[in-house]
Every structure is written in C-alpha cells, then in structure tokens.
Amino acid sequence: MGRPEPSVVELDQVRFRWPNQVSDIISIDELTLHAGEHLFVRGASGSGKTTLLNLLAGIHVPSSGALRILGTDIAALAPSRRDQFRADHIGIVFQQFNLLPYLTMLENVTLSCAFSKRKQARASADGGVHDAARRLLNALNLPDDLHRSPVAELSVGQQQRVAVARALIGGPELLIADEPTSALDSDNRDRFLELLFQEAEAQDTTLIFVSHDPHLAGRFDRMIELADENQGERVGL
C-alpha cells in the first residue's frame, strides 16, 4: 500500500480465557485490518468464533495483549464507554434472528441510531434517519411496500438483509458478520454476499465475516483460521 492508512482493527498478542480455564480460547499474535478491507474468519464451532466476536465488539476484553479499534484501546475503556463505542462505530449481523419481532422493518433499522448520536447524525446527514434507512433497504432489494410490515412475515433472506441495513446505517467503520448466511440456501447466500459487499464498499466499511464454510473464503481479501484446539493461527493470503 502506498500511503499509510489508519488501521481499523489492530490485534497484538491477544489472548482470552475465562478466569477458571486453563487454556486460551483466543490466541491471536497479530492482526491488522485497514479501512475497506474484507476479512474472512474461518472456524468450526467451538473454535472461539463467538468469543472473538465479543472481543471485537467490546463485550469482553482480552486477558492479555492489545486490541485497538480505530486506534482506541478497547480494554482501557469503561464498560459503558465500550458499549457506546460499539454503538457508534460497529455494526453487527448475527447468524439469524437479528430483528426485534415487535418492530417494523424500518424501526428495526433506525433503532441503531437510537443508541448512537453519531450514527444518528451521520444517517440524517442527507435527509432524515428514515430516509437513510429507506435508501439502504432499497439498495438491499427491500422495496418500500415492505418497510412497514412486521418482520416476522419476512423470509430469512429478507431478514438478513434488514440486519445488514441496521448494521450499516450511520456508516460504522467496522461491520462484523457472524455466519450471516448459514440459514440461507446457496442462491440466496450468493445474492446476500453480493449485496453485503456492495454496500460495505459503498460506505468503505471494513468487514469481518465469520463462517465455518470455507467455500466463501475465495471472495475475501484475506482469511484467518481459528483452529479447533483454540489456537489462533494466522493464515495469510
């Protein structure tokens, strides 16, 4: 790379284990991600994917080592500041059941902004929060007539796209997706990935995509593998 870009994610000798455990669940010596980079994290179940997710999102802090997001040492923040940091800078998409069933599609998307003034300000930069949500949903192939419908009536594929819209509204720097395609069939999966990449690129969002499915790896810039023995092992590309 020509010019030094600020790293979005920076892990240095990160270890994590629960207080009463003898071995580390997470052990990553070095990992740096720049703006707009797409990382594929592969790992079987039990390999610490969820723990890594919780670490990146600032729910847990590393037992040792440094974890910086956008240059901020997450462990140094008070828990409530970590929550706020997550609200402001990170979007998260789960495997499934991403949405609050009692809210409409639009409300689910705009809810992100309720917890972050920064996201709210950015989303309403041109037009209001609702317009931003509508634009995102439209871009993700969710037409206006669906926006006010209860989310329980949506297909899984549609729900996952709403989740992407919710994660991306307000332009967070980092998008973490945890097996977002595991409940989709292959057609839907491909279309979902395309839209995900398209919108992430449109916002220059760094993407961390966690999955057990190695077939998806080819579509990403980089990949790391979390070993079954809970030993993080960097696999360059």
């Binding site: 969820t50 997710l53 919780n54 999102a57 729910i59 847990h60 828990p79 409530s80 929550d83 706020q84 997550r86 609200a87 402001d88 998260i92 789960f94 495997q95 499934q96 059941f97 991403n98 949405l99 609050l100 069933p101 009692y102 809210l103 409300e107 705009t110 809810l111 992100s112 309720a114 917890f115 972050s116 919710r166 945890d178 097996e179």
Partner: protein, 418 residues
C-alpha cells in the same frame, strides 16, 4: 425511539402472558382495596350504630355488657332499672330526652323491645339519621308493633299481620303470649343497625302480656287481651334507657351523677366511646382480613415475578440484539423494570376500576341488604399508600429479573446460540 416506547412495543408483543399478569395484579389490588373499604365501612357503620345519644343507663355492669344488651340486643342485663330511678334521672335538669328500653321477650328469634314513641323521634344512627317508616306508622295501641326491616323481610310480614310474642328469648309452645297477639302497624326502613332485627312494642304492651305472669311462668289466673288493659300498665322496671342532654358538655357530669345515684346501683356509658373501645377489641378480625389480602397481593406479585422471569429466556435474543447495537446492560435492566412498572401500574388502575365498578354495581344491593350506603369517593390516603406500596414493591421485585438479565447480558454478550 425512546426506551418507554421500546418497552411498550416489546410488552405488546408478549401481551397474552403480560395481560394475565395485569389481571392477577388487578385482582389482588381490588381485594386489598376492597378489604380496606369494607373495613372502613364496617367500622364507621359499627361506630355509628347509635349517635346523638349522650348516655345509656342501665343496672351497674361493665360498659361493653351494657352496650351489648341495650344497643345490640345481645346478651342480657344483670339487673333492671326501677321505674322510679328512671323517672328521677329523666327529670334531671340537664336531661333533654330519654328513651326507655325493655327487653326480655322475643318473636321467632328476633328480640322484642318495649319502648315509647320517643324512640322513633330520638334514636339516631350514622350521620344524624333518624328512623324512617317504610310503611305504616309508630305504635299507638297497647297491642301495636313496629317491625325492623329484617324482621319484616325475613318473616314476610305486612301491615295488619298479627304476631305472637314468646316469653323469654327461646321460642317454646308453653311460653307463648298467644292470648295477646300484636298487630303490625309499622315497618321501618333498613338502617344497617340492630334496629333492623328488633320487634318494637310499647312499654304498656310488654306489661300487658305479663300481667298474668309471675317470674318465668304463668300464674293460675288467665286474663285475655281486653282484660289486661284494665290494669295499670306502667312498668315497675325497665332494662335500660337512652339519655339525650341539653348540652353535650354536661355528659360527664350527668354520667357521674348516674354512677353515684344512691337509690340503686346504676351505670351510665358514653355509647360512642364504648363502641370505639369495643371495636378495638374485635379489630383483630379486620387485621386478619388485611393480612390475608396482603398475602393475596404477595401471591400476585410472585406470579408477576414468575412471568417476567419466564419471559427472560424468550427475550435472550432480544437482549443480544439490543446489546449488539450498543445497549448497555443497565439499559436492559431499565427495559425490564419499565415493563414491570407498566404491568403493575396497569394492574393497579384496572384493580381500582374493578373496585369502583363493583362498588357502584353493588351499591343499591348493599344499601338494601346491609343498610350501608357506600358513596363513590376518590381513593383516600390509605388506598394511595397501598397502591404506592404495590408499585414500589413490584419495582423492587423487578430488580431480580433485572439483575439476572444484567448478568446474562454481560456473560452472553452477543452469543447467538439460544
């Protein structure tokens, strides 16, 4: 979207179980407030059994006993008051009016009370209520009788019916004053006092049925109703009498005068004070009622706790999603406390509505059957306090699921498996 709206929408989504909880809280609140209303009404109705009467005088005995037999027609007098003593006290300067009471006979389980027509003018209960006639008028003839509302209703009597008085308190064939029937000339309105259960006759009537009796049995001589009238029907003694004074401030002086009455041992009691004292001695009943309804409330709150705890599992996803978009653990706790508040406040309001609905619906029936008119009124301090206690208690209880959700949201974090 603010937290309250989020809590409302989330609660609406789980409305079935929450509505049931609201109803169960409402029922406990209705019961708790209802017991309070009944307690207060019972107390005020009891304390107002007799009003505007300054003193009740009878043979010397304890105040409760005198009150019980003279006003409640329960138990019996230890002794009588001679007619002469009665006259002497009635003639005291400070005495405005007196109403004699002569007890001892009964009619099919109801006490017969001999008195004068002054009774219908001076006896007052509640907030200065005097006795009113539902039908007919006061007795005039020796063999006239005026029935309390319950007597007429239970025995299905009308004006013009003839009734037989039994000697003593137990109806028995051999002790009927069947030769001297009384004619019903008046029926009183319901009062909610022992008056409802009394058969009123004149003092002369009491004397007339007893002219051919000595002690507890008939003399050999039999006199019919007409013949009895030829005797002097002024009683030689009465059971007790009510006294009204010209000036309330003189009550204690007259009381002392009666208590010091030299010719025979007499007691004068202040009915209001004695009623209050008596109520205190039987108020354990109201306390038991209150404690019972508190337990019902606790059961209602525990039901609410169970419901909220059981929803925590189904809300795990919801909490993880909220955490993912930046909600703090305390925000999650707030949502649960808000939901509890929502449930318990709705429960209180519904309970209050149910109580007032019930009171309004039952008002005519209660007034007719118990003689107590429960007018609708705003919740008083006690009721307000009860509801505040319920709401505060529920909020404190909601901290249990709140705390569990807090710990879970920290442990689970963004765990996606449920």
């Amino acid at each position: 979207m603010n937290l309250l709206r989020l809590a409302l929408k989330s609660a609406r989504f789980r409305r079935t179980s929450l509505l049931l909880t609201v109803v169960s809280i409402a029922i406990s609140v209705t019961l708790l407030l209802g017991v309070d209303v009944v307690r207060k009404e019972a107390k005020s109705s009891f304390l107002n059994t007799i009003s505007q009467t300054d003193l009740i005088v009878g043979a010397r005995s304890g105040p409760s006993n005198l009150l019980l037999y003279s006003v409640f027609h329960t138990g019996s007098a230890t002794n009588n008051v001679t007619w002469e003593s009665y006259q002497a006290i009635a003639d005291l300067d400070d005495v405005a009016w007196t109403v004699p009471i002569s007890l001892g006979d009964s009619h099919r389980g109801f006490r017969v009370m001999g008195t004068t027509t002054d009774y219908f003018d001076f006896y007052q209960y509640g907030n200065k209520n005097t006795l009113e006639f539902d039908d007919g008028e006061a007795f005039d003839d020796v063999y006239d009788t005026v029935l309390g509302a319950d007597v007429a209703r239970d025995l299905d009597y009308e004006i013009g019916d003839e009734i037989i008085i039994s000697h003593g308190l137990v109806s028995a064939d051999f002790a009927e004053h069947d030769d001297k029937p009384f004619t019903v000339v008046g029926i009183l309105n319901k009062t909610g006092t022992p008056v409802d259960r009394a058969v009123h006759v004149s003092l002369a009537g009491i004397e007339a049925v007893h002219v051919d009796w000595q002690g507890g049995s008939r003399t050999g001589l039999t006199l019919d109703a007409e013949q009895a009238l030829k005797f002097d029907l002024t009683p030689s003694s009465i059971t007790a009498f009510m006294v009204g004074l010209d000036n309330r401030a003189l009550t204690f002086r007259v009381q002392r005068e009666v208590n010091d009455y030299a010719a025979e041992p007499l007691s004068a009691i202040l009915p209001g004070a004695t009623l209050a004292e008596f109520w205190r001695s039987i108020s354990t009943v109201e306390q038991v009622l209150f404690v019972l309804s508190v337990f019902v409330l606790i059961a209602g709150l525990l039901g609410m706790l169970t419901t909220i705890l059981s929803t925590l599992n189904e809300r795990r996803r919801e909490i993880a999603v909220l955490r993912a978009i930046g909600a703090r653990p305390t925000t999650v706790v707030m949502l649960i406390v808000l939901e509890t508040l929502l449930v318990v406040v709705s429960g209180c309001l519904l309970g209050l509505g149910m109580l007032y609905g019930l009171l309004a619906l039952s008002r005519p029936t209660v007034a007719r059957r118990f003689g107590v008119d429960i007018a609708p009124s705003w919740p008083d301090t006690t009721q307000g306090l009860i509801m505040v206690t319920v709401i505060v208690g529920a909020t404190v209880i909601s901290l249990i699921p709140g705390f569990i959700a807090y710990r879970r949201s920290i442990q689970d974090g963004l765990a996606t498996r449920v």
